[in-house]
């Protein structure tokens, strides 16, 4: 079982974010972490490989600034086999279309049975990269997976719906979008952290990719940043403490008072 997990380094929400003069986040100086939803995809991939009788490997694929390897190390510490990082100054300011083209092109250079992606990212929040990559590569696309069961050259997925789940099935290779229902990501073990140091991270630039002539990067972005500004300061927070029943009563009273329920 060879699995590629699409994982994006995103700004660490607990850190300080800085906007550059162009109104964009300065990704090279902002502390980054692996996107939370992608960690669920990685956890699912690791579990699938661990459960597979003939083993396998998990490759992390990311498009990120040059400091990306630092972030990928954590994914490797969790147990991924190797990382592939596409990084190129020309990719700064890329739109979703560029990102999809780049990831699809990088995937063309890899061997895999299954691609796993997170539902969306905590920064861009578009939630379409997985679908875009599947469309471009002509892979079956199975979204909102609460369970992923590969067997006999096919994959069966429990796809979450408003009322429960559908069971969908497709031939491999396929792209599956993971959800948190697949289980909490593991904490890296100390041995995993130490082993991650010597794991391979392949770095590629745009020139290394077979893009089939398509143009990518900030210069050809299909979307344009019009304006950006920090969110308005949050009003004073009231914390309700105490035994659950009393606290719940207080919260309900608060909401009723403001005619919110």
């Amino acid at each position: 079982m060879r699995i590629v997990v699409l994982a994006k380094p995103v700004p660490d929400a607990t850190g300080q974010e800085r906007l550059g003069p162009d109104g964009r986040l300065d990704r090279t100086t902002t502390a980054a972490v692996v996107n939370g939803n992608d960690e669920y995809a990685l956890e699912a991939a690791l579990k699938l490989v661990e459960a597979s009788p003939d083993g396998g490997e998990v490759t992390i694929l990311a498009m990120a600034p040059a400091n990306g390897p630092e972030t990928l190390r954590k994914a490797l510490a969790m147990g991924a086999t190797r990382g592939v990082l596409v990084t190129d100054p020309a990719l700064a300011g890329s739109c979703v279309v560029s990102t999809v083209r780049v990831l699809a092109a990088a995937l063309r250079g890899l061997t895999y049975d299954l691609v796993l992606a997170g539902a969306d990212t905590s920064d861009g929040g578009g939630g379409v990269v997985g679908a875009g990559v599947a469309a471009l590569l002509g892979l079956p696309y199975l979204s909102y997976a609460a369970r992923v069961e590969p067997a006999d050259g096919r994959v069966r997925v429990h796809r979450i719906t408003a009322t429960g789940y559908d069971i969908v099935d497709a031939p491999l290779p396929a792209l599956v979008v993971a959800t948190q229902a697949l289980g909490e990501p593991r904490y890296p073990s100390l041995k995993g952290i130490m082993a991650a140091r010597s794991k391979e991270i392949v770095t590629q630039s745009v020139a290394d990719l077979d893009l089939g002539g398509a143009e990518v990067g900030g210069a050809v972005a299909s979307t344009r940043l019009v304006d950006s500004h920090p969110p308005a300061a949050r009003a004073a927070t009231r914390v309700v403490r105490g035994p659950a029943v009393e606290a719940a009563r207080e919260v309900v009273g608060f909401l009723v008072e403001r005619r919110l329920i």
């Binding site: 190390r73 510490a77 904490y187 890296p188 073990s189 100390l190 041995k191 995993g192 952290i193 130490m194």
Partner: protein, 393 residues
């Protein structure tokens, strides 16, 4: 109030990338998985087996052990970073790692390859715990006053006596026991060190103490009644026990200093957060200079202790001839800092600091032990003064 010396200059003072990664990973684990358990562990005074499993599962208990026996092969500083990161949220949990090192140190320092091969893999994986049994009811600071006897009988030794205040003595699978093998030998040449396995006939832990702090770390009385161990359970040479115990403490005291720094850091963070949020006279109490000054002193005391600890670790690891002095100094400074910082944290929180709704009263109770065990602060001062006065020139 950042907690790292990452930015200080000069080789030997900067934590390596590995150390930072290990520390940060353990911190996340401590914050997310151990911190929510800390109050309950203190309240129930039960050994936190779940935390032990957590530490084992993430190889943290493998830190003191060499790679070839399944350990992580961490150096002393890395081990102390781990103990600090865990103790910052729960001192009882941090002690699990500190005691695993303490109990194993005689084997690490003087054990044979066979002994390491036999016992280390299970200790490194965290399947087994090990305790260190030196102290007796009448032999505390005066460790040479030990009365527990070990008598050679054929290919065995037979151990009789009792130990007191043995951290995790009742939950450990192995106990490192110091006993008199030659009552006629000179005072510091009469002790030997043995490994006793749990379940050996005649070995029991009849009682655990009710304590002020570190309540989740059980402290046991151990009784040895005709406990027969094979001669290959002797660690090091006969008569080397006292020296081995002292060399063990030289290397283990930084672990207690790390626990103390962790406790202080935890209390400092709670106090600072409280001072930002708590409003009196229409503003956050942190804006009052009397409170701000306390917080600054707490931070300075914690950071001073931390830097001395990190320096001590690198000196001891490098084989400095005055390792005992570094070890005693870092525990002395860190233990006193922890006591003062936690006491002041309770003061910053006022009435709220005195009740168990906030963790600082627990931290204050936990801090006290760091001034007592692995040598009282008075003994540390004697060690430091002796090094100073016996000095050359």
């Amino acid at each position: 109030m950042t907690e790292a010396s990452d930015a200080t200059a000069g080789p030997g003072y900067r934590l390596s990338e590995d150390q930072l990664m290990l520390r940060d990973a353990i911190k996340v684990l401590a914050d997310e998985r151990i911190a929510p358990r800390a109050a309950e562990i203190d309240r129930t005074a039960e050994f936190p087996w779940d935390v032990k499993e957590l530490l084992a599962g993430h190889d943290i208990l493998g830190l003191p052990f060499p790679l070839e026996y399944g350990g992580v092969g961490g150096d002393l500083l890395t081990l102390c970073l781990a103990i600090e990161a865990i103790s910052r949220v729960c001192a009882s949990s941090g002690l699990i790692l500190a005691v695993q090192e303490l109990g194993a140190l005689p084997l690490l320092l003087a054990g044979s390859d066979d002994q390491k091969q036999r016992w280390f893999p299970d200790l490194a994986s965290g399947r087994h715990l090990i305790a260190f049994a030196l102290t007796e009811a009448e032999a505390g600071s005066d460790a040479a006053a030990i009365r527990t006897r070990a008598v050679r009988d054929g290919s065995d030794y037979v151990i009789d006596g009792a130990k007191r205040f043995i951290s995790q003595g009742d939950v450990a699978d192995l106990v490192t026991v110091f006993a008199v093998t030659d009552p006629d030998a000179a005072r510091h040449r009469n002790l030997s060190c043995f490994i006793v396995e749990k379940g050996t006939p005649g070995f029991s832990a009849p009682r655990v103490e009710h304590k002020m702090g570190i309540r989740g770390s059980t402290t046991a009385e151990l009784v040895f009644e005709g406990v027969r161990v094979p001669a290959d359970h002797l660690v090091g040479a006969e008569g080397d026990g006292f020296s081995l115990a002292m060399r063990t403490l030289d290397r283990s005291r930084p672990g207690i200093a790390a626990q103390a720094v962790g406790i202080a850091q935890g209390a400092l963070e709670v106090a600072a957060a409280y001072a930002r949020q708590r409003r009196q006279f229409g503003r956050p109490i942190g804006e009052f200079q009397l409170v701000a000054g306390m917080l600054a002193d707490m931070d300075a005391a914690t950071e001073s202790a931390r830097q001395l600890l990190y320096k001590a670790c690198t000196e001891i690891e490098a084989g400095a001839p005055d390792a005992g002095r570094w070890s005693a100094m870092c525990k002395l400074v860190a233990g006193d800092a922890a006591m003062r910082v936690t006491t002041d944290a309770v003061q910053v929180l006022g009435g709220y600091g005195y009740i168990d709704e906030f963790p600082v009263e627990r931290m204050m109770r936990d801090a006290k032990i760091t001034q007592l065990y692995e040598g009282t602060q008075q003994i540390q001062r004697l060690v430091v003064a002796r090094a100073l006065l016996d000095g050359r020139d």
